[in-house]
Symmetry: C2
Subunit: 418 residues, 2 copies
Amino acid sequence: MIKIREVLLKKIAKIECADVEDIREGVRSGLIAVPENMKRKIARPFAVGKGMTTKINANFGLSPGYSSIDREMKKMDAAVAAGADALMDLSTGPLLGKMRKKILSSCPVPLGTVPAYELASVGKKKFISMKEDDFVSVIRKQAEEGVDFFTIHCGITQEIVYKLSEGSRTMNIVSRGGALLASWMLANRRENPFFSRFDDILDIAKKYNVVLSLGDSLRPGSISDATDHFQIRELLVLGDLQQKAVARGVQVIIEGPGHVPLDQIEANMTLQKSLCHGAPFYVLGPLVTDAAPGYDHIVGAIGGALAAWHGADFLCYVTPAEHLRLPDIEDVRQGVVASKIAAHAADIAKNIPSAIRRDREISKARAKRDWKKQFKLSLDPDIPAKIRKGSRPREEDVCTMCSEYCSIKIMEECLKSS
Amino acid sequence: MIKIREVLLKKIAKIECADVEDIREGVRSGLIAVPENMKRKIARPFAVGKGMTTKINANFGLSPGYSSIDREMKKMDAAVAAGADALMDLSTGPLLGKMRKKILSSCPVPLGTVPAYELASVGKKKFISMKEDDFVSVIRKQAEEGVDFFTIHCGITQEIVYKLSEGSRTMNIVSRGGALLASWMLANRRENPFFSRFDDILDIAKKYNVVLSLGDSLRPGSISDATDHFQIRELLVLGDLQQKAVARGVQVIIEGPGHVPLDQIEANMTLQKSLCHGAPFYVLGPLVTDAAPGYDHIVGAIGGALAAWHGADFLCYVTPAEHLRLPDIEDVRQGVVASKIAAHAADIAKNIPSAIRRDREISKARAKRDWKKQFKLSLDPDIPAKIRKGSRPREEDVCTMCSEYCSIKIMEECLKSS
């Protein structure tokens, strides 16, 4: 039995206009996840999965020498203010433990981490000499500290790594955690500890009610690698592990996509829902082209909208800095807004009443040229007001695009007088 | 017989890796359009339609009192530099004629206009008193000057306007030209001159080889109006007029969408291709939500990618200023890039070899961390270089996101040593 605070469930049910019992049943059967470590009290909780609105996650965290704890805390604030439902601290390096404690004491939304990064933070060479037990210990440590969800790269097995080294992919592994695990397996000639010790990990996750996000080490990093046998082989492993977790009363979500062309997105969603027994699907992007660095938040919004409409439940944001550098605060904000647009567009297509209502209301305000109401109902309320101020019309009820030739105004006038 | 310069066709065939005869046959049967007024020699020509890459258009033009000819010429340059395939001058007001002449003498890509705007530029009241002949004369005048394609709002009939005035739509008409025509019809109680005098318009278009872009006055301006009977009623009229044009040897494209939710985009494309006999489809957006003013370039990129994948041939850009103000130069640039991303993503999904090749090449450069080559192959080459410079890594072959933990580098190293 998965324990979730009653007050949390009620709060979520109210936001989602859903029934508490339906959410509870969804959690029990593995179709919905509600992240909250037993040690935490989350101010802005959520449920992700079947029947829920699409959620979005923003990554941040230290890259040693290129940021500071203060700066990353500001990114956290920016992401939360822009509407991120969850955050992942992807810090590496010596300050990672200090950073995590600071975040956990103030983060109003569920916080995720990638425990393998803590193991690797001692350096790539020392990481190779880690013992199997270390992989379990770091998970226990972070669970005790209160982390709400973990990315565990448990689907990349020795068999897959050996096959991968034959070299048919354009970009073999583009997951940082996945590459670390692969390097450990190749150097030690042993099975992935997150796979071989999965039962121990389940014990810990159960004890603290941590949601396990089963990581996709083999997500395609190039359009030409999309939906290939490596990706699907790993997904099959994840589907098996998901069943184990559900049987043990541990909450699980599945990670997926990366670079996937438009015409393969629906198939990817269908496949995950089938192979992973309806588990919530958490996707990066998908990025529908490799060729637009600097604009990957737009590329990811295209793929994310399509993915969420076809079944993805949780979108991991992509920022304009993707493939280029550690994102700055404005990159974080841009990434969150682009993901929120994708999630909202998908929620409309999924017929979620609150999403449809919002668009109807903003359109009614637009028809009346009620600018204040339009801005208030916008996904990012500050920006439209700022843009409009950049070119003020002489008449308050139009904008400088069409001015007196505003189609809405023309129609209003001519229908009145006809 | 539609006359297109042989040298133009050869140039286009080379760019598209297509056969000259196939393009010629496509033009003859109305499936492809090649805009170039007989009076012009276009430096960067294109073919739009069946089997061709997806094209994009950028709008610009004077809004009286809010811009200048110089400023609009700079927007033209910015749009062309960013990769717009076509431009539309949507100027209104007294300087519109002067502006058009200036553009026509220097615009390297096909130029479109909305002739009704010239008629309306004398003022909304005077516009109402225009005679039917005036609607034909302005088309003749602009065709003689060399305009390459016209938006003609010929599908909005009296019957539709009367039905519209019963008032079931959230946003009745959001097309400037459509609203003008409707106001004329309601005031004069006469049929739309662009509809009743369509044969005369065909004569002019044929004489100068102007492509007619049959405008969609009833495009939905709100998600709640999408794919409604007004929109489809007009599309049926446009389909009939398209057949007339093809029979007369006049090139035609059809205009469509506006605000359409994700789950209705494919149906809209299928419907247009069926009702308009495979004519090239030119769509605005589509915008998949009403609720993101300030980010409508992203909203339009989501819809545009999906639309182009499912059959749209020509995407009209949307800028971040949409619904808010006349776009500035940076808005224009952002709008063009977002549309190009959508077009390119669709071309990948449509299996266009040049699009697929580009992504494979940039991914190979990415795998080698060859930054210069990555930037060169990017859809907007300057921006990624600038972003990367904003946070310089100590080691040249990684970026500051993962630094020493770069997955690509880890894999390269561990596969080498294993």
